[in-house]
């Protein structure tokens, strides 16, 4: 199965609409801007913080604070790459051109993963350096600090995996608004609900939530409640498993349903 023509077609489609470009620009802005804001707040509080707070403080994760918001923008990109085809009706032309439907989904996933990984990594490294500059003279990290490079890299990767998760959801749902609602619910609403549960329960559940997985991925070291979470690499694998599962679900429905 030669995917090159389908991938080049999907890549052309991906970059030829302004909404994609805008959403990626918003992603960068949220990552870097809100990350810097979070670091500035910490910079202000640092003199009054106590020793244990200073020890627990993770300058890497704080500089990547903006990712919490950028994840929503990335989810919208992942949703739109297929839901816009359903809302406009162009999915029919796409599937007429490539009747092997899984090729279409795989090609979309390749284009989406590659571009969001590039943007995600750029966001992560820029946010990291900007954040450390803002934090100083509070505790800062360099790429040489234990766990720092890994946290920055996995932080970028988390955006790409979330984009795939969103693509899978949108392929199953086919409607933009519905898919975005489901994605945001998984990211945020679920987090609020689970956090409201008694602590003795939620420590066992929290670590499975996508938002907690991504936080674990962008942490250089764990402390406190975070010690109950999956390690960054395990979190990466779990999030990847979610993305693959949603793509498989989407793929099965795509094959079965009429277009």
């Amino acid at each position: 199965m030669n995917l090159v023509p389908t991938i080049s077609s999907e890549w052309l489609k991906f970059r030829s609409v302004r909404s994609t470009v805008y959403a990626l620009a918003i992603t960068v802005f949220l990552c870097v801007g809100i990350g810097a804001l979070g670091c500035f707040a910490e910079h202000q509080q640092w003199p009054t913080e106590r020793a244990f707070e200073r020890i627990a403080f993770d300058p890497v994760r704080t500089s990547l604070f903006g990712f919490f918001f950028a994840e929503i923008a990335i989810g919208v990109i992942g949703v739109l790459i297929i839901s816009s085809e359903y809302s406009s009706g162009s999915i029919r032309m796409t599937l007429a051109a490539t009747p092997r439907r899984l090729s279409v989904l795989v090609s979309k996933a390749v284009v989406l993963f590659t571009s969001t990984l590039v943007v995600g990594e750029a966001c992560a490294f820029i946010s990291f350096f900007v954040g450390q500059a803002v934090l100083s003279p509070a505790k800062t990290a360099t790429l040489g600090t234990p766990g720092a490079t890994q946290a920055v890299f996995l932080g970028g990767m988390s955006l790409a995996l979330l984009a795939l998760l969103a693509l899978g959801i949108a392929t199953m749902m086919r409607h933009t608004a519905g898919a975005i609602t489901v994605f945001v619910s998984l990211q945020l609403v679920l987090l609020l609900i689970v956090s409201a549960l008694p602590t003795s329960w939620n420590v066992h559940i929290l670590k499975f939530l996508p938002e907690v997985l991504t936080q674990s991925m962008r942490s250089a070291h764990a402390s406190g409640a975070q010690l109950m979470w999956f390690s960054p690499w395990t979190s990466t694998l779990v999030l990847a498993a979610y993305a693959v599962a949603s793509l498989i679900g989407g793929g099965l429905l795509l094959l079965r349903r009429d277009a």
Binding site: P5, S88, S90, A96, P99
Partner: protein, 333 residues
Amino acid sequence: MVPDVEVSVPVRGRAQPLHGCTEPRHIVRDCRVVIEARGLVKHYGTTIAVDDLTFSVRAGIVTGFLGPNGSGKSTTMRMMIGLDHPDAGSVTIDGLPYGEIKWPLRQVGALLEAKALHPGRSARNHLRALAASNRIPRSRVEEMIELVGLATVAKKRAGGYSLGMGQRLGIAAALLGDPEVVLFDEPVNGLDPEGIQWVRELLRSLAKQGRTVFVSSHLMSEMALTADHVIVIGKGKLLEDADIGEMIAKAGTSVLVRSPDAARLAEALGRSGATVHPQADGSLIVTELAAAAIGEVAAREGVVLHELAPQQASLEEAFMALTKEHLEFGHST
């Protein structure tokens, strides 16, 4: 901006095979069968959209696919290109199910609905993406933009296109791969009279090049002008599968007669076996007797004739009669 006079489709590396259909309107039966639908069935919930439909479509002629709105035309066409899965039956193009064609756009060009494209993407990028998916050279994209007369707006976002422009872009997309088979669903919808004329000539010229042209419409009059053969369906069932000439013959003819002595003539014609329908304006519509015979009866009776005009019974009437029991209003499929 409409190239309305000369419609020539640029042909890439084709030896113009006509499949023996040099005079398509006369030897339809000799043309090669390209599309074969066998026992197609499609349900949506409890309603049946397509009900055991079997027909074939030949190369080198224009085959019209007729039926009232909601009769299953679009559903059938979607099944032809693998978008909808039939509940039973199959459809093949040159012996292959659509899904097994290696580069489908190079073999089958389909126009399904106007403006089935992302509103934020330009016509040129839309066509380029389609071309890339089937390894069609980019030069072909520019040729098609020229052909359909969208050169001045090719860079603009498709969201701002009129229905007619969307339809032209759809036609450009369908012809992009220089396909042997062309499937057009209601191609003249939304077009101005000039555009309609252009589509008619395009369809005829595609057929003349030996391609298989399958075009749906809910207007018999439209098909009468372009099709060599018609397949008529109603409520998903096959009602008629005939050459356009046969359809006209079946529709029957009548003769309009005017005479200052209409009453006496009507009586005489009645005796000669004709059926006479007196009209409000004093004229007579005569069926079951040819114009020549009517003239002879009048001469014999010494009745003066002011007018003796054979009427081509309208195909539209024949079509209406055929589909009357099958009319089903509702959502268009």
